[in-house]
């Protein structure tokens, strides 16, 4: 296994990559009308954050960053489950999944 060799890539490459994914995720959330794609973009943003965490965890040589990434994944799972439950319930009543048609608090 690699000794104390230098990081396979300098750390800022990973930061640039996660920045790119983060930007695409934000664009996704803001521009898409369909709630499911917005949810997927949020998953993408969480993934971008994970890359950062793991890059620095490798840089510092400790596993703390990876542990935090695991917690983020569990949180993403919980959030996706509940959000999709809401979307399903909403679709069953209002036959629509478009964000801008979800404008009534009570119908």
């Amino acid at each position: 296994m690699p000794g104390a060799g230098v990081l396979p890539m300098p750390v800022d490459n990973y930061l640039l990559l996660s920045l790119a994914l983060f930007a695409v995720g934000v664009v996704g959330v803001l521009t898409r009308r369909n709630v499911i794609v917005m949810l997927m973009s949020i998953e993408l943003i969480l993934n971008a954050v994970n890359i950062n965490l793991v890059a620095f965890s490798r840089y510092w040589g400790s596993v703390d960053g990876q542990i935090f990434a695991i917690f983020i994944i569990t949180d993403a799972a919980a959030e996706a489950a509940v959000a999709l439950g809401i979307i399903l319930a909403f679709f069953r009543n209002r036959e629509t999944v478009l964000a801008d048609e979800m404008d009534m608090l009570k119908w």
């Binding site: 920045l19 695409v24 521009t31 949810l39 997927m40 040589g61 542990i67």
Partner: protein, 173 residues
């Protein structure tokens, strides 16, 4: 990986994964067909899993595939199929404020880039320290010893999410 002093293999791999991740992320956001964007998100997740592997986070690589791609994305694809989305194919997929959103995102990225450019000098703090080769054992020990409390909170969070999902899926809601 046997990355001895940034050998050509690992850097080539990094660029492949990075390119794949960004390209499929962009495709995911722009596709009209929801299933296609779901498939592209899966490719992004697999690409990021590759990057985790390259950063010697083996356990996270496997967790990412099992949990994210094998679990959450299956949920997404299920819901997309159940909600029978071909009706929404010919609806316009992008809301009206897509130009404003584009500008806003551009400003955000520019800001982050500047912050990154300015702080660039603080990043190269010399060599990376060595990783513990037995990654899974290290993650296991840390997870159950130092991070016992967050682990329990995460399990409660999952429990709450399960109950929420069950309540949501009830027919009589």
């Amino acid at each position: 990986m046997t990355g001895s002093a940034a050998s050509p293999i690992t850097s080539v791999l990094f660029y492949i994964f990075a390119l794949m991740a960004v390209a499929s992320a962009v495709l995911m956001v722009t596709r009209r067909n929801i299933i296609h964007s779901a498939v592209f998100l899966i490719t992004t997740l697999l690409a990021t899993a590759g990057i985790f592997l390259q950063l010697e986070a083996e356990f996270l690589f496997v967790v990412q595939i099992i949990l994210y791609v094998g679990g959450i994305m299956v949920l997404f694809v299920f819901v997309i199929m159940l909600v029978n989305l071909d009706v929404s194919l010919h609806l316009i997929q992008f809301n009206r404020q897509k130009y404003v959103a584009g500008v806003l995102a551009f400003v955000l990225t520019a800001q982050l880039l500047i912050a990154f450019w300015v702080g660039r000098s603080s990043l190269n703090l010399g060599d990376a320290r060595a990783m513990d080769p037995k990654n899974t054992e290290a993650v296991g020990q840390a997870l159950f010893q130092r991070y016992m409390l967050p682990f329990e909170i995460a399990s409660i969070l999952l429990l709450v999410a399960m109950i929420g999902a069950v309540v949501m899926a009830k027919r009589r809601v």
